[in-house]
């Protein structure tokens, strides 16, 4: 991806939060997205003019989400960004109305038997 503020040769860490303007936490909503929270593009909220104002990392994430629904973890792996950075960037996108983020299933509402059976059959068929 273009626009990295650091390169891989430089060592394990060089200011990964530079592209978030030093912010290590998402914006005022204070959301800390779960690694498996799913991110979808909010088609109602975006227009191309808004998008042009976004930075390259924001747009890269939007592009990935547009291709298919992605989890926060996948976005980080695909964009080759640390999870913490992706969380901050997603917070911006959420606030700007570019994406919707769905909450993963809370433990108390773990999937019913039918879904677990589907998972088991799916695993066997891999």
């Amino acid at each position: 991806m273009e626009g990295h503020w650091y390169d891989a040769e430089a060592g394990p860490l060089v200011r990964p939060y530079a592209m978030t303007g030093g912010r290590t936490r998402p914006g005022p909503h204070g959301a800390r997205f779960d690694l498996i929270a799913l991110v979808v593009v909010d088609r109602s909220g975006t227009d191309t003019a808004d998008e042009a104002l976004l930075g390259p990392e924001h747009r890269a994430l939007l592009g990935l989400c547009r291709a298919q629904t992605q989890s926060v973890a996948e976005l980080a792996a695909d964009a080759d960004l640390p999870v913490g950075v992706v969380r901050v960037l997603l917070g911006d996108l959420l606030e700007g109305g570019h994406v919707k983020v769905s909450r993963p299933v809370p433990p108390a509402r773990l999937p019913d038997e039918r879904i677990l059976r589907e998972v088991i059959e799916g695993l066997r068929a891999l």
Binding site: S71, A76, A77, V85, S102, R103
Partner: protein, 212 residues
């Protein structure tokens, strides 16, 4: 949590049918027990980086403090996705075994369906912390004994006794390099997690009372 809830509500009914579902499984175990190998044999594995703020002493600090005291460390996790069908995926997270990364487990274990604890019989004690961790948090887990070549073979019962596992915790012998073997471990976990969650559901409903 301040997270915007665009997902289905508790009684979303038909909506819940179509909402994409993501399930999380953790893969834990001692250093070199085969976590990366297992995640790689059953899914397309990708490295995932998190940046964590650590104090000089190595423990997690609140990031509202002064910049001078903080250092950031990169923690790499194994990450894999298994697509069961459109809208239903399983996500695997291989977590670093070292104690100082437990704060990561705390986050990862939230909402997890369950965990696989990989054990190497040559260093069984390496998986004690993981076993303790999941038992204390009541997260369903199976112990997968990775049968390394040259290691003495133990039966599942022997391992269960040596680890002092709670009754019912499955122990599966496996070869983490083998896809079918890895799949079997996951199937056993999902089956077990299903049983545990059903039992808890019944527990939360309470004992049957007399006629109304």
């Amino acid at each position: 949590m301040g997270l915007q809830d665009d997902g289905p509500g508790p009684d979303a009914g038909a909506d819940a049918e179509s909402a994409p579902l993501a399930l999380k499984i953790l893969v834990a175990g001692g250093f070199g027990a085969g976590k990366t190998t297992l995640v790689g044999s059953v899914s397309e594995i990708r490295p995932l980086r998190t940046e964590e703020l650590l104090s000089q002493a190595g423990e997690l600090v609140d990031d509202t403090g002064g910049v001078g005291r903080k250092t950031t460390t990169t923690v790499a996790m194994d990450f894999g996705r298994i697509t069961i069908r459109a809208g239903l995926s399983l996500y695997l997270f291989g977590t670093p075994g070292q104690d100082r990364f437990w704060f990561l487990w705390d986050e990862l274990s939230q909402g997890a369906l369950g965990a696989v604890v990989l054990a190497d019989t040559r260093r069984l004690e390496d998986c004690f912390p993981a076993v303790d961790y999941f038992e204390h948090r009541r997260i369903p887990f199976v112990v997968a004994v990775n049968c390394f070549t040259g290691a003495r073979r133990y039966g599942a019962d022997e391992v269960a006794r040596a680890l002092d596992l709670e009754q019912g915790t499955p122990v599966v012998l496996c070869d983490a390099r083998d896809k079918d073997s890895g799949k079997e471990v996951l199937v056993r976990l999902v089956e077990y997690a299903g049983r545990v969650h059903t039992a808890r559901l019944l527990e939360s409903v309470g004992p049957p009372t007399g006629p109304h």
